[in-house]
Symmetry: C2
Subunit: 531 residues, 2 copies
């Protein structure tokens, strides 16, 4: 028998005895319950560990040159937005007409990078509760719920289309977790609301049920405008003009196309001084080269162009470089998430964004599993570790992502937020000093003597280790006596309890009424549309 | 709706169509089945990505100085092995008698490091099949099954004490996976065999059912000698004297004690020219300081002393620095595994081992979960990623670890080996060149055109992405029609199929008979003992 097993057994008993006496036990009893970790809570993470730099400069330059070559020799296709084409033409882009509604623009090497110089390296997105405002860029890191699933799932009712009720539930679950920092955007599609109106309900829910920052609509330019208008009601027009209070998450149409809906939306957000995320969704071998370096280079090219457009609309507007890297199953032809090659690509994206001095959105708790099981969490960790180690600044898909992004899972949401909490401890790193080296603890007893009761242990006991809110770390016997539940079942109980305990943050009544008035007026002005 | 969802939907259809035609589909059909990844298979991993270096040199030196201070001012206690004490005394250690059977030895700063200079930075452990020999140290990385659980678990029969049948099953499961490189040691305790005889059955099972390298017994000096003697029968005495063919995994008794059973065993392995691992099992706040830097410093001190003893027994004997870092649940007092602080500590151990020019054993697929569920895999990933990113050379607990090391899980074993496979792809890193940057793929179609059929895609299709043997990446509907099983259930089916398909590697009949003769003779010489 490995001797460590003896240690496990005997240590359990020794620790158990220690807890029944002394100051440490009393201090523990004063805590609010599992998973609080008060010392780690913050409106956003300040990364205190180095980034994991995969490539050397020579190889990074090769990727940057490939992106420049793509932009100079193949070019980007723009569709149905002549104003954007005109902005790029004036800035030096070489425009070729493809049709009446499509243009190819080529950019001399360095031109796009030059345009990006006015974009901020780091900026603040304000929350209606100023204590919840976040910073995006530099060593700041912000976790937001997953985004964009048409379906929701839970262990009781299985998979079904999302509704506004589900949407509100997820806003509440996010607001209740100290390990997310941002309310996200389309956490799930509220498919019971007409497509042309649901953005109003979503923005309202973010404002009403959360006091954190959030994302607005991008599915049509007028919906982007509505989203920003609701922020003007909430924050005041002048504040909104001078500060970022909302952002839009825009997808390119890979390979190498920016459609007019997106570019109009990007311009709307930027012109209002608001933030935007410029995301190529890169499925290798389908819409980008099947080899990861090619996917990264193409994504860099596409995202840089989106970011550059913001600076043409309003220099200094916040813009976030982004990349969503995925792979493909050789056998089924399906997209796969949480696989090793995209994880490596995300680390490289981190390096490229820092060289470009732009904030980065990349990776998250991805999974193709259809249940919140071991597969889901292996895939989630593979992707999420690359985000935090790569120094990603805004992680949109931090919680709930299942079924290849087709479903938001209630159970995985709380499993992911617990993991996000653990990552707070991870990103804090290790401080090395005489106190943390703890020789006093060893000296107090000496060889062979346990350290449960040393002054050093007692003074660090409460903050030395991350305290999970969900994992069961009890001995087998206790776990078994309590029902022997797996993580899925515990997560199912947990999200229900969180929703039952949820209390909405205060919202001034006049603002609430003004928002409802606006929403009702806009809804009355439009006929229901389902596209 | 986030546009990426459209991409997921539409890409699935597009990829599906692409698979039904063309060379790529025909190539795929020639493959042996899921999870083969022939291009990634190797007798051991050669790490091709940089290590993740958490601390700068200044902080590493602080830890090294703390370890030196521990050795110089507090010292290590040795028990019941006067020969070891005498070896250290002659080498310059300052010995103080504690009792007739216990001594404290203090070491001047630098003395232990000086002794370690004759230990190899990298060595070969030979397998009976020369194609399966592994290298340990440098950029080489070796995965072995978990070690030391008294219990085994599967989804059919739950938790029960391990037997020799279970032990043999796990040797066979390990041998069947291309993603492990080493047969390990006490994969589970064969509790149906007397304690004083089971080492013979375990070593025989490793030899008979695997053709990979393995670990021998450490629970008593005569059992270590038996283990080595069986290798002499297998490899020939002369070969064994000149080459490492077996290793022992020795635990210190933290804090700061090496007991006589361990030091005698260490000397037996080293004197025979065989390898040894020197492992402090560090439960923070119990047997080491509760703060992670203190745990690392103490572990370094203890492990260095164990390694140094090998060089006194036989200069040049292979020695592996090691550290098993764990944390404690504030609430229950139980040890916890797969938590963030030990993951950081493992990264630091990697840095310290490289500075010391010694191979490192550290971390693995740890978990305190009692089931192979989402919790198990979050914890496993947190720990295992630190091993591979920290450049650990020998990962003993790579597969099956559950229930805080008290149970070997059949299902988690195959979940872990699939993860180990993914890590082969991860550790290969990204090669950046004109071919992998894939501009030809983009040029073949241009903006807006998919890349399923480009020459570049077809030439990289089979090796671009890791192919899982266990995860289900199909669309929800296909998964659901096939039963909607979670990862646990699929893993349950998989290990049964692997065992059903298992075929023992060839072993020359005369060697087999000689081994059985030796084993039977030794068993006859001893009365059964259960301690």
């Amino acid at each position: 028998m490995e001797q460590s097993v003896d240690h496990v057994d005997s240590n359990e008993h020794r620790v158990g005895r220690a807890r029944n006496r002394g100051r440490a036990a009393r201090q523990a009893s004063r805590m609010d319950g599992a998973g609080q970790n008060a010392h780690l809570q913050a409106p956003f993470i300040s990364r205190n560990i180095p980034t994991y730099d995969l490539l050397d400069e020579e190889n990074l330059i090769k990727i940057e040159k490939a992106a420049d070559t793509i932009l100079a020799e193949i070019g980007i296709e723009f569709r149905e937005d002549p104003e954007t084409v005109e902005l790029f033409r004036k800035a030096g882009g070489q425009v070729t007409d493809i049709s009446a509604e499509a243009w190819n623009i080529k950019f001399e090497p360095g031109m796009i990078r030059e345009l990006l110089k006015t974009a901020p390296e780091r900026f603040t997105q304000h929350a209606r509760n100023p204590a919840r405002s976040v910073e995006i860029g530099g060593d700041a890191m912000v976790f937001a719920p997953a985004y964009g699933s048409p379906f929701v799932m839970d262990m009781d009712k299985g998979r079904r289309y999302g509704t506004l009720d589900d949407f509100e539930n997820f806003v509440k679950l996010a607001q209740s977790s100290p390990w997310l920092h941002h309310s996200g955007g389309t956490i799930c599609e509220p498919t019971d609301i007409p497509v042309n109106k649901r953005h109003l309900d979503m923005v309202y829910a973010h404002i009403r049920y959360s006091d954190r920052p959030f994302l607005g609509s991008i599915t049509a330019p007028e919906r982007a405008v509505d989203s920003i208008e609701m922020c003007r009601i909430l924050f005041g027009s002048e504040f909104v003009d001078q500060n970022c209070v909302i952002m839009g998450n825009f997808n390119s149409t890979s390979p190498l196309v920016w459609d007019g809906i997106s570019t109009q939306g990007i311009r709307a957000y930027a012109a209002a001084g608001q933030g935007s995320i410029h995301l190529p969704f890169l499925l290798g071998g389908a819409v980008c080269p099947v080899t990861m370096p090619g996917a990264v280079a193409q994504g860099l090219a596409e995202s840089m162009v989106g970011c550059a457009l913001t600076q043409l609309a309003r220099p200094g507007a916040p813009a976030i470089l982004a990349s969503f890297l995925s792979s493909m199953s050789l056998r089924s032809g399906s997209p796969t998430f949480g696989t090793p090659e995209p994880a490596l690509g995300s680390l490289v994206m981190g390096q490229l964004a820092r060289r470009l001095k732009l904030p980065l959105r990349c990776a998250g708790n991805f999974a193709t599993s259809k249940l919140p099981d071991g597969q889901a969490m292996v895939q989630a960790m593979m992707s999420m570790m690359s985000a935090v180690q790569g120094g990603v600044n805004y992680v949109l898909h931090s919680a709930g992502f299942l079924d290849g992004l087709l479903s938001m899972s209630y159970e995985k949401f709380v499993m992911d937020t617990d993991l996000c909490g653990a990552l707070h401890a991870y990103l804090k790193g290790l401080e090395i000093n005489d106190d943390t080296l703890g020789l006093s603890s060893l000296r107090e007893g000496g060889p062979g003597e346990h350290m449960f009761g040393t002054a050093h242990t007692l003074s660090h006991y409460e903050t030395a280790y991350w305290d999970t809110e969900l994992n069961d770390d009890q001995p087998f016997e206790s776990w078994s006596e309590q029902g022997g539940d797996d993580a899925m079942i515990r997560a199912n109980r947990r999200w229900k309890k969180i929703l039952a305990d949820y209390q909405a943050p205060h919202l001034a009544e006049d603002r609430d009424e003004a928002l409802l008035d606006f929403m009702n007026r806009r809804k009355t002005e439009m006929k229901d549309a389902w596209y």
